[in-house]
Every structure is written in structure tokens, then in C-alpha cells.
Symmetry: D2
Subunit: 302 residues, 4 copies
């Protein structure tokens, strides 16, 4: 299988038939990105990285950060966390409060915003500085010491993040945040505003396809990674998780910056990026490319 | 790996520490089953079948029938179906009407009751007799010509199935059933009331782990099977699908008769049975056994 | 106050500026009515009846029947009923199942469809023939022995009433209907299909403004009538009850046939009819006319 | 009718059979109140004020303040407000976010917390200092220049009001608050923390029963008052509005401090106070007393 050829072909396909959809406009700073860029990178478990298109352009990882904060939290202490957040698909938009109220302040899963706020709160308690912990981890795993927050985007989220502030106070009203709301929000916004390229991201997530082994040794146990991948598959793409599993067949986590991180356990980690979003907030080009890639390679877990 | 040894060990574990939970009591006929029976069977893609415990005792397959009616429908005509039913996890109990109303009569997926009624309606239209079609298929795939409906259970469901009648009329009010409600309900209840053993079931579902190849040749294409497995993983165990993926890591479909069908793609199909149900309506012993089995064998798709 | 002059003026206003809105189209037989008819009748407690426009034209009373079946049930036995149905505004469309599921089969109030099915079920149990009981009552109170069911409309509701069938089976699944579903539905559809004119209706509902005294003596106690009027005010116009109270200020019950019955306690009973419906299913002309009438007469209860 | 005798009798009844229920415990400062106090005051339109029990003891008016801020806003500019808040009963608890999300940030009515935050925001815009405006108004109308905020309670609400902060940020995310959240919350908490006695409150609300005429002349037009009373009747007592209308039959507004303000249009304004709350957050003694009072006096609007 000539992976480089496959990737070049995918990029050509996307360029030939650009997907519809709009760039996320509710976070100032994201809407200025050229919407028709597209990049893809594949980090094989065997060591090589293949890439094509705008694969070295940095973009805002946004919710993809949630995979890494969850991994870091699980690595330190899993028990407290799973009493405060469930592991079920939400079936509702990523920023919904409805389910959270019906379920008394316990988020459905760690990948919707409310759940990620709880994870951030826990990581803050465990480390004192969840954002620094995340940045250090991503630099190490990606072998890219220049990964950092896009401060303009972090600041713009602070200003406009009323819905996340609402979620955070709501969680606090159920005593499911223990750190002060402004601190949790600040950490959360900074984590989301980290900028990485597809190449960074594919390498950074390699421990997910390699049974927990990262750039400098074990990050998670094999069991922990299997379970994290399971949560990605059922909850990683908001209210489109079922369709993602149907079409792509891999554990994935998407972000509204247009990136998607996908894991083929035992084989490789894949990062795609295309800023135009479909209606559930997932990269339109990314979904198309991943569906074609798994169809052509047979990398589906099913 | 000595699979027979593993299965015997699992049965011993379950017998030593029987799970809590009650037998489904809302379907007369199910509640008279000895609740502490437990069986397991594994049909390897290589041909052997291993089994332990009450693996040849017949039980009511109930919602596990939904995998087979879906497969039979997909094999005949997939296009109409997917305009009438979605493929997303429901996050709500299997017989809920709430989501169905919010989503204007389009069931969330084919494995909740409303979705399965739509599948049955479609299969009725395609075949004229969905139940006969299913029974013939199961007999062939299981190599057991004596598989049939438990008429007492079918009759008791007809009498007490007010919630399913409500769902069926509700779907009809959205024009999402085209056959008369009593006919659809009759077919549905008969399909659910089919009795099979773990051994029957593991063999009957073998096409799911064998890329679509059944006892007498191809049932579905490889792509169709991958997708069906994806729907099982995200939607097969009601509002516990996320936890199932987390703990078991395999596509599964459960029934309130206490059976669970699980698929390890490329490796084997597994059937377990224990009548006591956990709070989401899945066999308590079955979940425990499957979690241990995948932990010990590494058969998780993740 | 020259009431006849006021009514003539209202009719002229409505004819000059006909309201928008459509005739109910989901009940075959209703959609053939000339949509621009408009009638009004006022039965004063002092004995006179004033009317204007198409006030002697019969129309399908539909949900207005629910006031009368509730009154008849309360007159016979109030206690059982109020354990089976609440008295709170629903805030949801008249045929919603969502709230009913969340509240375990107890309808929010007796004027939404689910609640009215429970009332009909109870009246069936109490009388053996709820429809005959209702028809006799309306004939007596209206002094019009020719009031009867429009059989064509009753039949068309039986054929198309899938949503009501769904509600009835749903209630049965919670054991909140005790009579067989087909019998309850038949009675319910026949009650809704009774045809009356504004004049009939204003006279028929006179006991509501006269402290419970009807054509042939007491129908309800003064306390019972006060409470029935309270339920009409808070629940009589579906999810527009708050706006009705705000704009009209009288207890009202509307029907999708375009009629509205309104009560000015101590003063008069009013019936209006205009087939075009606003978005909540209440007569558009009727609301406009009632709002103007209470503004000009000061008949608001507030 | 000897009103003084009736009130003394009511107080004796309540003392003889104290209601169950607990004092609101989620606002520090409220839970230290002696729970078995009970007071009532009736301000007749004819000028006299009758009272009994602990009728001159001050208590925290909490949500009763919402009637007054709504009246003050309506008096200044009604048009903007009714585009930002509906007038329908909510059917949900007073601090729910569910409906608010389903209805895209438009609160169901001005008496649930979200709606009252919008009213406060509007009054802030109109006056620059909504709390000062309210305090001045209450002092004038009650002829009690010493009415003021209980600062300890205002401060405790600021500290623990996470749910209200969540609502405020949620509204802001829909652009339905225009002033900064901390300012709106501060005004809201101070308004709720105003302390008044039953006598103050009955006099302070007199304009509601007197067609809009307050202590120093017209506060609202007659039409505006009718409509305000309509909103109180349908929305003034949270998710118990239907039952209140059924049992009491008067426009009412309750607060979790245990007070209820009731209006008998054309006759009198009534204030009751008893700290123990029923399950919907309304004073248990207050409801009982009002139901008896309207039964004995016939003051129901129905």
C-alpha cells in the first residue's frame, strides 16, 4: 500500500470538489482562516510520517485538546473523574445544557464542553496548571518545542465564551467544579487555543495507536488507551458519532478549528484539517477524506 | 490461547459471584425463566465453536432479532431505509417517545424499538412476510432447522405491548410506517419471540465477523458488514452503548431475554446469556463475562 | 352598554380585516369549511342572547367538548379523576407525548388530548356511554334537541387519528386508561365531532358563568364552577394560555374547528367561531374578537 | 363581612395545624428565620388595612420583587421587553435552563429567574439603577421610608448564586442581556434581598387591585394592570400556577422567603407570609391561608 500516493490523491480529490460548509464564526480569530486549505498527516506505528496538502500549517486544535487533557488526567487519577462525568454519547449539541440539567450536573461524556470543563477542573487540581501540563506534553509527543497558544484566539474566547461561562457556573451550582470558574475557564480557553499542524497532531497522538507508548515511553496502559479510544469512537464527534462510526469506522476527535484526530489502533494515527464545518461542527473535508481513506485502506476497526 | 478453558473459567466466575439484577417482568413468559442460568458460545471464523454453561438452552432473543432484520433489509435495499431512520446513539431508554417527537418521527437508530418497527415495516414491504424471512435465515445460518417462535411469548407481547403499539401509531402519524399497525406489530412481536441458544446465535451471527460471508455464501458486502458493526457498537445496547464500548470494546446487540450477541471482526462471533438485567436492560452476567473475555483475549476492536 | 351594537361592530371589523391562518387540515371534513365565516353569540346571565354574523351556523366543536366532558365527570366523581390527571398548563402542543413520558403517564391537564382521553375513559366508566351522556347534556343546556354528531367527521377522525391512538396506547401502558383503547377513542372522536352553532354553545355553557346553574337547575356547585373556570383560564388554549389571559382575560376553551367558548363569571358566556387558526391552533378571528370585546366591555376577570 | 375576624381565624387555624415543608436553605441567611411564623395583611381598595399574626415582621421578598420590577419596566417602555420575554406559563422549575435553550434564549415569562434577569437588564438600561428605582417605589407605595435591602442576604446570594450566574451568561450568549452580567446579577440579588412586612407589601401592591392607581397617583394604566394581573395568575407561582388558580383563584406572586402577594382586582391586595415552602417553592401556610380566605370571602376572580 502506497500511503503517500493515497494521501496525494485525497488532497487532489478535496481540491477538485471542495466541500460546502462554513468556518466557525463564533470564535473571533477563527473566521479569518482561508477556508479552502486542506491538510492530512499519517503517523505510522512503524515510525514513518506521511503527509500531503497544508499539513504543516498550524491551526487551532480547539476540542481536540480534550483528548489530551483526558489522557493526562487518566494517567494521574482516573477514579475521581469517572464519578463526575459519564461515558455515554450525548446525542445533543456540544454546548447543550439540557441534558446536564436533567442529569443533575453530571456531563454525559468528557468530550462535550461541560465534560471537558470537569476534566480541566480535575487536571487543574492534580497539576496546579493544566494548560502548562498540556503544552509540555504536546511539545514532547510531537517533538516540536515551539507549540504554543495562539494568544489572540485565547483572548477572543475569553471575551465571547458566554455559553461556556454559563456551563461552568451551572456545573459549580451542582458542586461539580471545585476550582474558581474564572480559573477553569482561563485554562480551558488556553488549551483550546493551542496551535498545531496536522504533522504535529498525528505525531502527538501516536500513543493512541501504539497501545499507550508515546515519544518518551508509556503514557497510558494498554487498557487505558483501549478505553480512551472507545470513548473517542462513541463520543468524539458530538451528535454525529454514530454517523462517523458508520462512515469512518475509527475513533476520532474533532475540533471547530477544522481538525480531526483519528486513531487506527495498532496501525497509525491520522490528523486531517479543513476549516469548513458540517452541521454538527465537524470538518466537512476531514470527514470526507477519512471516509475515503478507511475505505481504501481497510483501516476501520470494524 | 485455550478458548475452551477461558469459557469454562468465565462460567465458574459467574456461578461463584452471580450478578444482581432482575429478569424482565413486563413480558409475561420471560419472568418464569430460572434467573441464574448462564451460557456462552464462541463461533470462531476458523470454523470451531466453543461453548460453556447453559449454552444449548434456548431463550427468547428479543431485540437481538433487530440485528438480523436490519441485515436482511440492508441486503435487499438500503436506500429507502436510511431516509426513515438515523444512525445515532439515542441516549434514551429503548422505548422512549420523547426523541421521536422532537425529531419528527425519524427514529434515532434501527435498534431502539421505534427504529426496529420501521425496519420491520420496510422488510414487510420488501418480502411480504418479514418474520418468515427472518426465521428461514436464522435456521440456515445456525444450521438448526428447528428454530421457531415461542408462541406463548409472542402472544403475551401482543397483549401487553401497549408501549410498542403507541410507538407504531406515533410513527404512522408521521407516515413513517406504511403497512397497517397491527401487521407490523404482529411481525415485530413474532420476531422478538424467536427462541435460540447461545450456540445457535453465535453461529447465526457468524457473517458479522466474517466480512459478510454466512453459512451459504455472502449475506452482506464487506462494507455493509463494517457499517452494521459500527451501528451495533454505537447503538446496540440502548443508553449504555458508551459504557459497553468502554468496558467490552466490541459491537454488541442485547435483548431483554438476557442474551447478548458480540462481534470481534475478523476473529469470532460470541453469544452470552444470563437472564438478570442491569438497569439499562442488558444482561448483567453477559456484560461482566464479555468484559472479562475481551480483557483476557485482547479481542477489543480498540 | 349596547351589546348588539358591539357584536355587529366586531363582525364588521373581522369582515373588513380578515385574519390570516389556515383551516385545520389534518381532520378530513374540517378543511372543506368556508374559512372566512365568522359568528359570535353572547348568552347573558340575565337571560337574553345576543348574536351576530354566522352565529347560527353549526361547526365541529372539537376540543370545546372537553369542557363539557370534564364538567360531567366532576359532577359525578371528582376524586378519582384528579389522581390521574394534573391541572397545570402544559406549555407544549396539545398532542405532545414528551411531557407525558417525563411525568409517567399523568397528563398535565384535562384539556390537552391525553388528559381528555383520561376524562373520557373515566366518564365511560361512570356512565357506560360518555358520548350519549354528553349529547343529552348539550341538547338540554342549549335547548336544541337536534344537536348531534357529524358522522362524516367522526369517521374521518377514526381513520386518521393515529396520534390520538398513540396517546391512548401510551396512557394504557401506564395503566391510566382502564377501558379498551378502541372504545375510548370511539367515544372521544364522537364527542369532538359534535356540531353546534355559536348560539347553541353560548347557551350550552351558561352554567359556567352562572355559578353552576344550568337550564334545568344546578349542574355543578359554585366552587366546582370556579375551579373549572380556573382550569380553563390556565389550560384552555394549549400553549397560548398565557397570551390568552394577557390579551382576553377570560377563561376560554378553544377547538380546532375554529370555535372558542369564553366565560365572564357572573356576567355572560360567549361563543365565537372563525375557522382560520393561529399557530397554536386557536381561532385567529376568535382571539381578535374576544380581545376587542373584553377591552370594550371590561369583562376581563382581572 | 368582618375581615379582621376572618384573618384572626386564619392565623389561629395555621397555628393549630402548622404546615409541613422546609425553609429555603440554598440562600444563606434565609434558613435562620423562625419557620413557624405566620402573618397576613389585607389592604382594601376602600383604604383600610387589616392584619393578623406576624404581619409587621420583615422578611425577604425575593421573587415578589419581580412583580414590581416588571411594573416599573412596563410603565416606562413595554415594547422592547415583550420581544425579549414571553408570557406563557413555564411548567418547569423557576431556575431551569432547559426551556430557555429550546426556545433560543427567550425566557418563557418575566417571573421565572431568566425572565426576571431580562426585566432587570431592561430596567437597568432604562433607569441606570434598577435597584434604587425599585426601593424608592416600594417606600412610596408602602408609605414606609425605611424599607431597604438586607445586605447580609444580598451578599450571600452573590456568593452562592451560581445557577443565576449560569442563567445570566446563557442569556448573554443569546444577546438577551445587554448590560454586563455582574451588574445585572448585583441588581437582581439586591432587589430580591429587600425586606418588607406583610403590611408593607399589601399596601405596596395596592395599585394592582386599584386599576393602576398607587399611593401618589397612577402607576400603570387600567389595561396594563389587567395584563400584569393576568401574567401573575398564569405565571406567578412557578410550576404550580394551575393548581394555584384552581385552589386560590387570584393573581399571585410568591417568593422563596415565604411571602405571597395576591390581588383581588377591584377589591383588595393581600400579603401572606410563612417561611416553610411546599415542593414548588411556594409558602405552604400561605397557599392554605389564601385558599381558605378566597373560599370564605368569594374573592376568586372566577
Amino acid at each position: 500500500m502506497n500511503i503517500q500516493y493515497l494521501l496525494d490523491d485525497l488532497v487532489a480529490d478535496i481540491k477538485a470538489t471542495p466541500p460546502e460548509g462554513n468556518v466557525a464564526d463564533y470564535i473571533p480569530g477563527l473566521e479569518t482562516v482561508d477556508p479552502d486549505q486542506f491538510g492530512i498527516a499519517v503517523a505510522m506505528n512503524s515510525g514513518e510520517t506521511y503527509s500531503a496538502g497544508n499539513s504543516s500549517t498550524e491551526f487551532s486544535i480547539q476540542s481536540i485538546s480534550k483528548v489530551f487533557t483526558l489522557a493526562l488526567t487518566i494517567a494521574k487519577d482516573e477514579d475521581d473523574l469517572w464519578t463526575r462525568v459519564s461515558r455515554e454519547p450525548s446525542g445533543t449539541p456540544f454546548n447543550s445544557l439540557v441534558q446536564l440539567e436533567h442529569e443533575h450536573g453530571i456531563p454525559r461524556n468528557p468530550f462535550i464542553n461541560s465534560g471537558a470543563l470537569v476534566v480541566t477542573d480535575r487536571l487543574l487540581t492534580l497539576t496546579g496548571d493544566s494548560h502548562a501540563c498540556l503544552q509540555t506534553f504536546l511539545r514532547e509527543q510531537s517533538s516540536n518545542p515551539s507549540i504554543e497558544v495562539n494568544e489572540a484566539i485565547a483572548a477572543s474566547e475569553s471575551l465571547t465564551g458566554h455559553r461556556n461561562a454559563s456551563l461552568a457556573y451551572f456545573l459549580t451550582s451542582y458542586q461539580n467544579l471545585v476550582n474558581p470558574v474564572p480559573e477553569v475557564l482561563n485554562a480551558y480557553f488556553r488549551q483550546c487555543a493551542i496551535a498545531m499542524s496536522c504533522e504535529d497532531l498525528a505525531r502527538g497522538g501516536s500513543f493512541l495507536s501504539r497501545g499507550g507508548i508515546g515519544a518518551n515511553g508509556r503514557v497510558l496502559t494498554a487498557d487505558q488507551v483501549r478505553r480512551l479510544n472507545a470513548v473517542m469512537l462513541t463520543c468524539g464527534t458530538y451528535d454525529a458519532a454514530g454517523d462517523f462510526a458508520y462512515r469512518v469506522g475509527l475513533p476520532c476527535k474533532s475540533g471547530v478549528g477544522g481538525g480531526i484526530l483519528a486513531v487506527a489502533p495498532g496501525t497509525c494515527t491520522i490528523a486531517v484539517w479543513g476549516p469548513r464545518l458540517g452541521k454538527s461542527g465537524n470538518s466537512a473535508a476531514g470527514v470526507t477524506a477519512l471516509a475515503k481513506l478507511t475505505e481504501r485502506t481497510g483501516w476501520s476497526v470494524f
